[in-house]
Symmetry: C2
Subunit: 325 residues, 2 copies
């Protein structure tokens, strides 16, 4: 590793995985939405840490400014979304909050309220906290613990060629506001667990294009996404119009959707579509293929192109669909 | 809560405890060294989040500058010290690292090495990570999970008048360097669990004076500390000399000792002193009294004074023994 190489998130994640020591109980380490710990004979724990940073995940001034409650909500909801992504139920979070020392006490209390409201809604405890002062951006780091059946976690690996690709909700334009108040898909994940159809799953935090890539890489498969099938949010249309960007760039690359993206066998796909009884929309948006095909986007005119590089890298903004904000 | 009140750490912690939602499995929430989750019939989990922040817990330039490995080590060791403080064994940590985007990749990798080395030493997994870029200070937040017997966690509450007060190791002057490479007292905590003598325990992160106060407040007791009995580190003498401060100010207020501070019944105290067979020094430094007496310091000349306010508040530096750095 060169001394002067600038950091890229994916290479760091890889290096981190290679270096991370294990424990006999840890059956799934870094690289999935949450680590899985085999706690007892019939119950596993999911364990996740996640950060929201002022200027990256929210702003406190100007257009789109978040309230302290929204910052707290978002910080908790993101971590709970990762617990949903492995199909587990949340038990507790702990939060580390860094705030500038000249902020009024009210700011921290309102931020705690946002954290607590989110946890309350999903029957999750706030079991610990840490406060520090900072000269830098306001930062909230949340660690979450979830519980689920032994061996029952949904991972990014497990998709096979021929599996159908599903997504909950609608995609794109989250930064118009939804990213501050979204509801983590815990109820939907629980329903999917009960239906017993998921072969691989993740939540969409960095954009469909990037998060689908995570499933494909971990599962050793390729995928085809049908552009015409993608559920486009009204926010995505508005954002595309305003930013003079193609709407599909918003849908594939905006990120912060916090929807569930998952693989279901061809045989179960029809049953899932028929039995789905949750309020959140469920859409079949494509299918998995052999790894050699790569990840492809099937345009409405029938042409097939490689999936554009899109999504968000914390250390390098790609030339294509970089997040505008 | 007034809009313009400046934050104080302790009032925030209290507000946070009052507002934190619970979960049927969470038997101990905020306010102790770690939360306790009743995971299964015979095994509890300890859950902790903790931060180290550049400029507060370490510096990267100038005198006393930490290497990236030391930053990682300290971040992990602090969280493991909290697992030790409840007498549990570490299972896994997850770490959220915020680094300025122009840092070389090497910095992050070396920081991970420090985290990993510390976890390896104690048989703990690094099960997850999160990287973000920041314009502010380098920050490492570590969440740790530990395991122990059902109902067997050592808490800050449980000390009674008449109990003896013990401390491991030596106190003061940690900022001369020890704070970057200290060994969390996991082995000592395990030995204490086996001996079955601890009634209340914490680790000393904010200084003996402040951390003893935590035990007293949670247990509803007072305490007397015998100044002459306090185990003074060589670093404390050096630091006192250099800073022209009374050595006891360093011992009581420097913080970052990461030693175990605990209560043992009068009956068990003699047995503990006799059976202690660990390399770390063990010292009986005082005893607990009824709450109304407060927390007292018994000087070598026989006079008794209230324990000076000392230690570190992240949002307010007390007039007395504030941390000089």
């Amino acid at each position: 590793m060169g001394e002067n190489r600038v950091m890229s998130e994916s290479s760091l994640v890889k290096a981190f995985r290679d270096r991370a020591p294990g424990h006999p109980w840890v059956s799934v380490g870094p690289g999935h939405d949450a680590a899985i710990i085999e706690w007892k004979a019939d119950r596993d724990a999911a364990f996740k840490i996640d950060s929201v940073v002022e200027g990256v995940h929210f702003v406190l001034e100007g257009e789109g400014a978040a309230t302290p409650e929204q910052v707290g909500w978002k910080a908790a909801a993101r971590a709970l979304s990762d617990i949903a992504a492995v199909g587990f139920d949340p038990v507790a979070i702990a939060a580390a909050v860094a705030i500038r020392s000249d902020f009024p006490e009210d700011f921290a209390l309102r931020l705690f309220d946002g954290l607590s409201d989110c946890c309350c809604r999903f029957g999750c405890a706030v079991a610990g906290g840490d406060m520090s002062s900072t000269r830098g951006p306001v930062t909230v780091v949340v660690s979450a613990i979830g519980a689920g059946p032994r061996g029952g976690a949904f991972l990014r690996k497990g998709a096979s060629p021929g599996d159908a690709l599903f997504v909950t909700g609608e995609l794109g334009g989250s930064l118009a506001g939804r990213h501050l108040s979204f509801v983590p898909r815990l109820a939907e994940a629980r329903r999917l667990r009960a239906l017993g159809v998921v072969r691989a799953m993740t939540d969409i935090s960095d954009g469909l294009a990037r998060d689908l890539r995570h499933i494909c890489e971990e599962s050793g498969v390729g995928a085809v996404v049908e552009e015409a099938a993608l559920p486009v949010s009204a926010d995505a249309y508005a954002r595309a119009l305003r930013g003079k960007r193609p709407v599909m760039e918003c849908v594939l690359g905006d990120g912060e959707d916090y929807e569930l993206l998952f693989a279901v066998s061809g045989r179960d796909a029809a049953r899932l579509a028929k039995e789905w009884d949750m309020p959140a929309r469920l859409t079949r948006i494509g299918w998995f293929v052999v790894r050699e095909k790569g990840i492809l986007l099937c345009r409405p005119d029938g042409t097939v192109t490689p999936m554009p590089a899109a999504g968000y890298d914390h250390f390098r903004r790609p030339g294509g669909g970089a997040r505008p904000k």
